[in-house]
């Protein structure tokens, strides 16, 4: 099997002390303890299975069966010291079955196997629909900002006032307390959630919820409070909220913050329209 080695100097840099189980190698590297090598092998196996699925080489059922197979082999190895030693001595086809017990050597990678290393048939119905999983993956994203590294969870912002800020009702504004516990330069987003109660409008269904998200840079006031504005020229959810708040009489609003590291505050309390509506 693949022997994991790391240069001793790098290992020393990453560890305060080199574990006693680490065995020096003639080339100056070290061989990690078998448990650590197993952990590495497992991570690699799971990762490869996921990668095969993402490439489209495997179905969800294949991925699930392979994951379960890897987990089953792990349980066998962790519960049987002799098997673990045998695995450490050799696993040519990387199926986590020791070579000396592998009746099917050379198994294709990323395929589920039984405890003898032989392939297991996969029921193609035993997984969610491929298109559903890919739709979820395509929809989700990661957000990062290096200036937010090590930032704490943002404080919960408090909504202050919200309403139309002129008599012609052309602009809807939200005022909120700023989050001020983030490192310099760490971006903060403010997400408002409006809950419309009781179907006061023919434009919307009763008890509907709409969300709008603002980048802090969009605020028009930035001192003691942040004020965000939307109007009839806004798009998507912003336009929906702008329109709905005009015609609904009963709604609640709350806000939360998220930083560029993805840490999210809790939601503020729901503020009823009757309490906070007014010109910000």
């Amino acid at each position: 099997m693949k022997r994991l080695t790391v240069v001793l100097a790098l290992a020393a840099a990453a560890c305060s002390t080199v574990p006693a189980e680490v065995r020096p190698l003639p080339d100056g590297g070290v061989e990690l303890p078998v448990e650590d090598r197993l952990a590495e092998a497992l991570a690699e196996a799971y990762r490869e299975a996921a990668a095969a699925f993402l490439r489209g080489d495997r179905t969800p059922a294949d991925y699930l069966a392979t994951s379960r197979s890897i987990s089953a082999q792990r349980r066998l190895l962790q519960s049987d010291g002799a098997r673990l030693s045998a695995w450490s001595a050799g696993d040519e086809d990387h199926d986590l079955v020791p070579d000396d017990r592998d009746r099917c050597p050379g198994t294709e990678r990323n395929r589920p196997v039984d405890e003898t290393g032989c392939p297991i048939a996969v029921d193609p119905r035993s997984g969610p629909r491929d298109e559903d999983v890919r739709a979820v993956l395509a929809r989700l994203g990661f957000m990062e900002s290096k200036l937010c590294q090590g930032a704490p969870v943002p404080q919960v912002p408090a909504p202050l006032k919200y309403g139309y800020d002129n008599v012609t009702r052309e602009t809807l504004a939200f005022a909120v307390t700023p989050v001020n516990n983030q490192p310099q330069g760490c971006v903060v987003f403010y997400e408002f959630r409006a809950v419309f109660i009781g179907g006061g409008s023919s434009f919307d269904t009763p008890n509907s919820t709409h969300r709008v998200v603002f980048h802090e840079k969009e605020a028009t006031e930035k001192s003691q409070r942040l004020v965000f504005r939307v109007d009839a020229n806004s798009a998507d959810e912003r336009l929906s909220v702008f329109t709905l708040m005009k015609y609904h009489s009963t709604y609640y609003l709350q806000v939360r913050a998220m930083n560029g590291a993805g840490l999210t505050s809790g939601w503020s309390a729901l503020v009823p329209s009757a309490l906070s509506f007014g010109e910000p």
């Binding site: 990453a14 590495e40 969610p128 993956l137 990062e144 290096k146 997400e191 008890n207 998507d236």
Partner: protein, 524 residues
């Protein structure tokens, strides 16, 4: 046990928020009122309201009287438990001042405690405006006993135990290299928005090096970040790296998969394990997406997480085996999709043992078992899945809750519902007594109670399964990808939605009564 792996600083700080809210447990506005309602039924029983406490046929007078006597004794004891409410800042008490500090015990509460007492930023001083125990309780017992709201507050608060879970991405899981994505962070290229937004698949491409180069994905990411509004909906973003925690994730400890054929590797009950999720042994689409994404090396952060320390059980005295212990290396060895979390009954047992060991018997500790009893009434919690209709089902239960307990019915009609809950409670109290007799012990079998309730929920759910109720994976996908409200409405508008959901709720409230009645027997 493995040796502790090397800890390298996580250099990426990337967002992660499970879009479908995979781990958030049963809604606060169900946990709290279901506990309060159970307490109000106990009050009604203690007042001996005839139509409520009449002994049903087929039950011996001795058993029934034992049950009612336990309730009689429990109610006053519950009222003298320490309320243990945290002190609120003065800024929270602008419009109301219930003087919580004087409410040293639950019975001294002068207002209903709101679910957001500790976490909200509203100005109502943590009181629940407009609270009412319900028509029948108003009629017979009055509306000034807020003990149940205090218990309910602690029951729902377990979802806010955010330090139960901290996750992180371990570069060591890549053999020290995270590929292009790591380079992006170190290059420090930025956009006008101050962030880099990467599609999940693109990020995985980069980390896995799937196509030899992820440059095309990076270009896509740049275009996304430079868009006019890349973050339309924060909940569409995936859980990220660095240190991520929050109420969304605490619920990973709130599952008990009582479906047959699960691995039960570390306990005699199975907690959340995505590989084995789902009512039919098949994870939902988002369950699987989470598995795939976390295979890039997202694990629990053992040092920062309280869950492994709290919910791995040792020194058990309830006839169940101790947890097969995992240390730091074990917990961080597998990515989240392949990590088995401790089961819900262990969570209950943690709080229960704290309650027993606490000389003051703070009501806070009861929050854990009470929360577990609530979660054990949710079909998805007892099959270990964050999907299959999980969130829309729970949102619907919250919206339907007033109808289920007859909040707007006449006192007489609601009286019938209260009696139904009392009878459910008897069945669970009999379960407790049987366990105690069988084991020759006065211990309250908290873990068995949670497990039995979970099994009952599963059996009911399987028997009741229709095309869209209760298990409905398409609803979860819709909840995430298109329309939350529409997904929830599938449950709300389902024929007989109230009648279908009520048995689950009542069973949990009955178990709550049995638990509280038995629990107070350990209080002097």
């Amino acid at each position: 046990m493995r040796t502790k792996p090397r800890s390298l600083a996580v250099s990426l700080s990337i967002l992660v928020a499970f879009g479908a809210g995979p781990a958030r447990a049963h809604n606060a506005r169900v946990h709290q009122p279901m506990t309060d309602f159970a307490y109000q039924v106990m009050r009604l029983a203690a007042l001996k309201v005839p139509r409520v406490v009449a002994r049903p046929g087929g039950i011996s007078a001795q058993e029934w009287d034992d049950y009612l006597a336990a309730i009689d004794a429990a109610v006053p004891k519950l009222k003298v438990l320490p309320a243990s409410l945290p002190t609120l800042p003065a800024s929270r008490c602008v419009t109301d001042t219930p003087a919580w500090s004087k409410a040293a015990t639950l019975g001294l509460l002068t207002r209903a405690v709101s679910a957001g007492y500790a976490t909200s930023t509203d100005f109502d001083c943590g009181s629940e405006a407009g609270w009412s125990p319900g028509p029948v309780f108003e009629q017979h017992a009055g509306g000034t006993d807020y003990t149940g709201t205090g218990l309910g507050f602690w029951a729902q608060s377990i979802d806010d135990e955010v330090d139960d879970f901290h996750g992180w991405w371990k570069p060591t899981n890549f053999g020290g290299s995270a590929g292009k994505a790591k380079e992006l962070a170190s290059e420090g290229w930025d956009t006008g928005l101050g962030i880099l937004l990467l599609p999940a698949v693109c990020f995985i491409d980069c980390v896995f090096g799937l196509f030899g180069s992820c440059d095309a994905c990076v270009e896509t990411a740049k275009q996304l970040s430079e868009g006019t509004n890349p973050v339309k909906n924060l909940e569409e973003l995936m859980p990220g790296f660095g240190d991520w925690t929050g109420p969304t994730y605490t619920g990973l400890w709130h599952f008990i998969n009582v479906r047959g054929g699960v691995s039960n590797e570390y306990d005699d009950r199975q907690g959340m394990l995505y590989e084995e999720a789902g009512p039919f042994g098949v994870p939902g689409a988002v369950d699987m997406a989470i598995m795939v994404v976390t295979d890039i090396g997202i694990t629990i952060n053992y040092q920062k997480s309280l869950g492994p320390k709290r919910y791995q059980i040792s020194g058990a005295t309830d006839s169940h085996p101790n947890t097969k212990h995992r240390d730091e290396g074990d917990w961080e060895m597998l990515s989240l999709g392949h990590t088995t979390f401790e089961p819900l009954d262990n969570l209950a047992y943690f709080g229960w043992r704290k309650f027993v060991a606490d000389p003051a018997h703070s009501s806070r500790w009861l929050g854990w078992p009470l929360h577990a009893l609530g979660d054990a009434t949710v079909p998805m919690h007892v099959t270990g899945t964050t999907l299959w209709g999980h969130r829309p089902f729970e949102d619907a239960q919250e919206r339907l809750y007033p109808s289920m307990v007859g909040a707007k019915l006449t006192p007489t009609t609601q009286e019938g519902l209260a009696r139904s809950v009392l009878l459910e409670g008897f069945a669970w109290f009999r379960f407790v007594r049987s366990w105690q007799a069988e084991h020759g012990s006065a211990e309250v079998p908290v873990r068995d109670l949670v497990t039995a309730l979970a099994k009952k929920t599963l059996a009911y759910s399987q028997d009741s399964q229709q095309l869209f109720w209760p298990y409905n994976d398409a609803a979860s996908t819709e909840y995430l990808l298109t329309a939350k409200e529409t997904a929830t409405d599938q449950y709300i508008d389902h024929a007989n939605a109230v009648e279908l959901g009520r048995p689950l709720l009542f069973s949990g409230q009955g178990a709550t009564i049995a638990f509280l009645a038995a629990a107070m027997e350990v209080v002097p």
